[in-house]
Amino acid sequence: MKNAIEVRHLSKQYPGFALQDVSFAVPCGSIMGFVGENGAGKTTTIKAILGLIRPDSGESELLGRPMTDGEREIKSQIGVVFDETYFHDNLTLRGIDKMLGRIYKKQWDSGAFTSLCGRFDLPQGKEVKAFSRGMKMKLSIAAALAHHPRLLILDEATSGLDPIVRDEILDVFYDFIQDEDHSILFSSHITSDLEKVADYVTFIHKGKIVFSKNKDDLVYSYGVARCTAQQFERIGADEYLRRRRSAMGGEELLVADREEFSRRHPSVVLDSAGIDDIMLFYVKGEQG
């Protein structure tokens, strides 16, 4: 098996929004960052992968198999964390432990669950409704890991959390990915988290995949050129990907190959581009 997740030509029409021909793959042993602004289609894509919604066309495979081929077995090997916890308000850690033990059967590692809850300082005996948002997310993560999955699917699992909690959580994901059989699909709009941990980045915008690339290639080869109006006139439309007007009145360009660009236009100021910059250029900028 080469890919932990493979999505091919997924489409789904909604009134006012559509997923269009979404394709990408999460290679085994890697962390795929899945970025896009709110409403770009990240959650819809993840729901389609998990079989929570039915796509109009296209297909997806988890751990080398389509969901129709052994749904239970596939789902027993994945852990999913959404942007909030869906455990009932009146449950306690003990109750959740017992319930999941009955659902995951032999696979459930009660000791691992307890030790993760301990590592996260989750209060024993309290009910879920008394948990803070950070605690709830940590609870969801502990629950997603304690059956020893091979694939983690995280949908905005770190958004709305303070940097300290986010850092703790990222550490746990780091431990998880040490096993080279493990993979993570990590959807987020907090690009700094992805820059820290992701191996690949897939960028979705208005229901379409803009690119799916190796993160290092992106960070090392993409650049932002800042030029004046006169400089801009000498630059061909095929030399940059996107442009946008800067606050100073000049032009800012997103270029795919920084070195090549600086050879051709040595006088233009050129910076490296973060995932944030790239997103901004696609969402706010214009086509090259």
Binding site: I53, E71, G101, I103
Partner: protein, 207 residues
């Protein structure tokens, strides 16, 4: 599936205790006011029929189904767990009511047969009610189904009221006995049929 039933019972443990308390208070009050124990039995069974409906509301509020389906559970087993919970809670309500009816019949000489028939009939009606309501809940969600629930509870009452106003002759005793015998079969068949309808609704649901 047992994990899901366990989850509902754990989550609603306080609510279940409250229901039990209400029932006990009710029995206590009625023990001072004559011998209408068939009514107590009916009340106990109907109270227990509410449990599964409440559990659906809790699930919806927590968006539980979406999460549960990321676990090694099929859509069918999610529906199956609800129908199992319905059977268990109505069964428990039936047992409690039965205990009250048998207890009073033994100690104060109330009408045993009438009480037993009443508990049995109520059990069947409670199951039939769940059989109608559960598919509605899966189809329309708890908010919209709440209105339907009121209608479903009211319709039989209104029907009987209308019939009595029309002055039609009351059916013979044989009719009632026949109805009593037919009810369990209708309830079992209805509940089973309802399960398959709910599964087919829930299969198509987008979460």
């Amino acid at each position: 599936m047992s994990g899901l039933v366990y989850k509902d019972l754990m989550n609603m443990r306080r609510y279940l205790k409250q229901l039990l308390l209400i029932f006990v208070v009710f029995v206590f009050i009625f023990s001072f006011s004559g011998n209408n124990y068939s009514f107590v039995a009916a009340y106990g069974v109907m109270l227990s029929a509410m449990v599964v409906l409440s559990s659906m509301a809790y699930d919806e509020q927590a968006k539980w189904d979406k999460y549960a389906l990321t676990m090694p559970l099929s859509r069918r087993s999610l529906v199956g767990a609800k129908y199992l919970l319905g059977l268990l809670t109505v069964g428990a309500g039936g047992l409690l009511s039965l205990a009250v009816v048998v207890g009073t019949a033994l100690f104060s000489g109330g009408p045993m047969t009438e009480g037993l028939a009443s508990v049995g009939a109520c059990l069947c009606v409670a199951l039939l009610m769940q059989a109608v309501l559960l598919p509605c809940l899966y189809k329309f969600g708890t908010e919209k189904a709440r209105m339907m629930m009121i209608v479903i509870f009211l319709l039989p009452t209104l029907g009987i009221l209308a019939l009595s106003k029309l002055g039609l002759p009351m059916p013979e005793e044989d009719f009632w006995i026949g109805l009593l015998i037919a009810l369990p079969f209708a309830a079992a068949l209805g509940y089973l049929l309802s399960y398959f309808i709910s599964v087919s609704i829930f299969r198509k649901k987008e979460l």
